[in-house]
Amino acid sequence: MLELAIGIILGCCALGAGMAMIAGIGPGIGEGNAVAKACEAIGRQPECKGSVTTTMLMGCAIAETTGLYALVIAILLIFVAPSRLVDLLMTTLGR
């Protein structure tokens, strides 16, 4: 029984990490939009390429934040959560 419980914990942690990274879609679309618009702007006004590029990089980095939240959660689920949860299980079972 204990093996099954630990197996469920590990499997669900991995599944949760995978599901958390679905959030990567959002920043991908957002950054793609930002870069597309920046390319358009540079095409229209090549002389302001420098400022457009720096602004775009700033915007991209800020748009990335939600994806990074998901990444942090996924990393916590993979590296931190399993051992904590297994410990919790062991202490509740009293072993």
Binding site: A61, T65, L68, L71, V72, I75, F79
Partner: protein
């Protein structure tokens, strides 16, 4: 250039050593403390030792030691660049130092306005510390920026600065600013205020850490591949991971060099934007005028 005295050159060499020796010391500490048998693993910062404290033990970790080494290195760099500085430019290093100062001052003036013109050194310090901490990964050391504690410390520092400048027009003005534009939105405003340092810390640390994790995954994958392909070779030849030579460096250019420098730039930029946008210019000037009037009235 030939009029340099012997003591000048001696100090120069000392300063160059202050720049290089911390990195060497970091590598030596890393080699001495890493267990030999350990393969490739994704691990956090190593804890060297813990200092017993009244409430909670204080662990001295790799990230703390490495960031201190980076600070010593930056101090050496600054002293080296400004050593033998003169009114008229005659050395390359003085040109470089002046270029750095001018660039940072220009950036601060462009983004923060006139009131914050003294912010250059702070912004430059954040830029240099963050960028060089991330670049430390190039030497195979643990980058302090991939530890959330380090970056969260910087973010809290920036948050204190933001709050300080928001309070410049009086504490009551600061409290009232949460009720803008409607008083109903106050809880949301408080949440967004608290989210500022959290998002700053997570953005920087997540970017560097994701790069480190992907690099380690690639390295372990290449090790497995090379042991599969060359495993049949006799003796030591079969154990050398040939694919791990050179290929991870391509990723390192993106994740360590480009991403690290970009995140440093973004952290400094956000610091400037948050601090300058949080500062209530009009209210501050009104308050100043009021105080001056009161003073003049009191004098008469």
């Amino acid at each position: 250039m030939k009029d340099r005295s012997r003591s000048f050159v001696f100090v120069d060499i000392l300063l160059i050593l202050t720049m290089i020796l911390p990195v060497v010391a970091g590598i030596v500490i890393k080699i001495l403390t890493t267990p030999a048998s350990e393969g490739i693993a994704i691990a956090g910062a190593q804890i060297y030792f813990t200092i017993p404290m009244p409430f909670q033990d204080l662990p001295i970790t790799e990230s703390q030691v490495n960031s201190l080494l980076v600070m010593i290195s930056i101090t050496g760099l600054c002293l080296y660049l400004t050593h033998g500085i003169r009114a008229h430019v005659n050395t390359k290093r003085q040109l470089l130092a002046e270029w750095i100062v001018e660039k940072v001052d220009g950036m601060v003036g462009e983004n923060m306005g006139e009131y914050f013109s003294g912010f250059g050194p702070f912004v430059a310090a954040i830029l240099a510390l963050s960028a060089l901490s991330s670049l430390l990964a190039l030497f195979g050391l643990y980058a302090p920026t991939s530890d959330i504690n380090v970056v969260a410390g910087w973010a809290i520092l920036v948050f204190i600065l933001i709050t300080y400048y928001k309070c410049k027009a009086g504490p009551w003005q600061y409290v009232k600013s949460f009720g803008e534009p409607v008083k109903l939105l106050a809880p949301l405003n408080i949440i967004s205020e608290v989210a500022t340092p959290i998002s700053m810390a997570f953005r920087h640390y997540g970017n560097v850490l994701s790069g480190a994790v992907i690099s380690v995954l690639l390295a372990s994958g290449l090790q497995g591949l090379s042991s599969m392909v060359f495993g049949a070779l006799p003796g030591v030849l079969g154990e050398i991971p040939f694919f791990r030579v050179g290929i991870p460096a391509v990723l390192s250019i993106y994740f360590d060099v480009f991403s690290g420098c970009l995140q440093a730039y973004i952290f400094a930029m956000l610091t400037m934007l948050y601090v300058s946008s949080g500062f209530p210019q009009d209210e501050y000037e009104k308050r100043k005028l009021k105080r001056m009037r009161k003073k003049i009235k009191a004098q008469h």
